[in-house]
Amino acid sequence: MASTIVTFELGDDREVEVMVRPMTTLQTVLRNQLGLTATKEGCRQGGCGSCAVLVDGEPMLSCLLPVEDVAGRRVTTLESLTPTEGLHPIQQAFIDGYAFQCGYCTPGMVIVAAALLDHDSAPSVDDIRWALAGNICRCTGYGPIVEAIGAAAETIGAGQVEEPR
């Protein structure tokens, strides 16, 4: 079978069309064809969470998704989550809380955290840990990450920052 053209929504306002060989992963399309490198390539086994994106608002792993499977659906990456001006409250909370060192896991962490806060605006520490169970960090330690997400929830809840989605 020759290459095919796949169309999907990227973020809230952009439609993209890509030509792909059969079963090219969404991860490869995002990084290599669209130049969206926030989505990381970690294990390509579904084990690390660094390639997490949202598909129709729910976290999935782009390394395990043939791009054909997301045709017509809405894909949200860290780029689409980041407002034109400033940062998403979760991103700001990660900076304020020193919630990363090397930063490789951060896009996946922020994506999953955004999905969590979308489902539950005031998650408990256990809820946050539970949501992050598939995201591996090998240097920061999870404490500051969990705290940053809790802080972001408070910021958004207090209306100090409009959640820009």
Binding site: P22, R44, G46
Partner: protein
């Protein structure tokens, strides 16, 4: 990447026709959480793959006493249903949020040990699987489905299309023991369903995961429970029988010795949850 053709059928008949046309060389994939890592790593080099994500097989349906689960219903869908609490427990204890959004119930039946935690629950629940080809359809008890490690009774031209589960009327117990609290392979998984009459156990299902070539029934252990009131002696006898009859293996998670020991420990704990006065979880 060597895949020449990727098919995404939009219906079951279309999927079955594709399978009939291609034969066993067509690799069937549902959520992709098992197949995609193999393809990414070059351990599987299929020429043609069929993805089932759009085949319309993802429905959950509750009808008098029965929960029917489409083969591609996700583990998240299983987590969100409330008809069968044991299946919710099983989904909750499987993998991570992103994987549960992708991985399917049907796919879980083909996940090699120590994976396949949902399949263990389904086995304890006396689930029936429906297998369909382009020309025929048949039902098989899950207990008769597996024939060995990664082998089963699914014919080359068949797809597993749904799983039917009788909704339990008495409390059940499900424990997955791993080395972490979440997103962890099992050391052993135990699922128990009992039937009672006047304070005595009349029927028992004890299913074990990660201690055999596929999810297995602990039939000797089950026999020790029949006719008892599930007192400490019966529980100890069943736990010891389960530890004896399981077929554990050694991997990076645990040794066969440890898995066998933990099988006894967790069969006992699961049964203790169901013992009179323990306040079982229900369903």
């Amino acid at each position: 990447m060597t895949v020449h053709s990727y098919y995404l059928p939009r219906s079951l008949p279309e999927a079955l026709d594709l399978l009939a046309d291609h034969g066993p060389s067509l690799l069937v994939m549902a959520g992709g959480t098992v197949v995609m890592p193999l393809i990414n790593e070059g351990l599987s080099l299929p020429e043609a793959v069929m993805g089932l994500r759009r085949a319309g097989l993802d429905r959950l349906e509750r009808t008098d006493g029965m929960l029917t689960i489409g083969a591609t219903a996700t583990l998240t869908q299983l987590l969100e249903q409330d008809a069968v609490p044991m299946l919710r427990d099983a989904a909750r204890n499987t993998a991570s949020w992103s994987i549960r959004n992708m991985g399917t119930v049907g796919g879980n039946l083909f996940t090699p040990p120590p994976g396949g935690d949902v399949a263990v629950a389904l086995l304890a629940l006396d689930a029936t699987v429906t297998l369909a080809s382009a020309t025929a359809r048949r039902d098989l008890p899950l207990a008769d489905f597996y024939t060995g490690f990664m082998t089963d009774r699914l014919a080359d031209d068949e797809l597993l299309v749904e799983v039917r589960v009788p909704i339990p009327t008495a409390p059940t117990a499900y424990i997955k023991f791993g080395r972490k609290h979440a997103n962890t392979p099992a050391v052993v998984t135990v699922a128990v369903r009992l039937a009672w009459d006047g304070g005595a156990v009349t029927d028992a299902r004890i299913a074990l995961g990660a201690v055999g070539p596929h999810p297995i029934r602990a039939r000797d252990a089950e026999r020790w429970l029949i006719g008892t009131t599930l007192g400490p002696d019966a529980i100890a006898a069943a736990a010891s029988a389960a530890a004896k009859e399981c077929e554990p293996f050694t991997d990076a998670i645990a040794t066969d010795w440890y898995r066998r020991r933990m099988t006894g420990v967790f069969v006992a704990r699961a049964l203790e949850q169901l013992a009179p006065g323990a306040g079982g979880k229900g369903g």
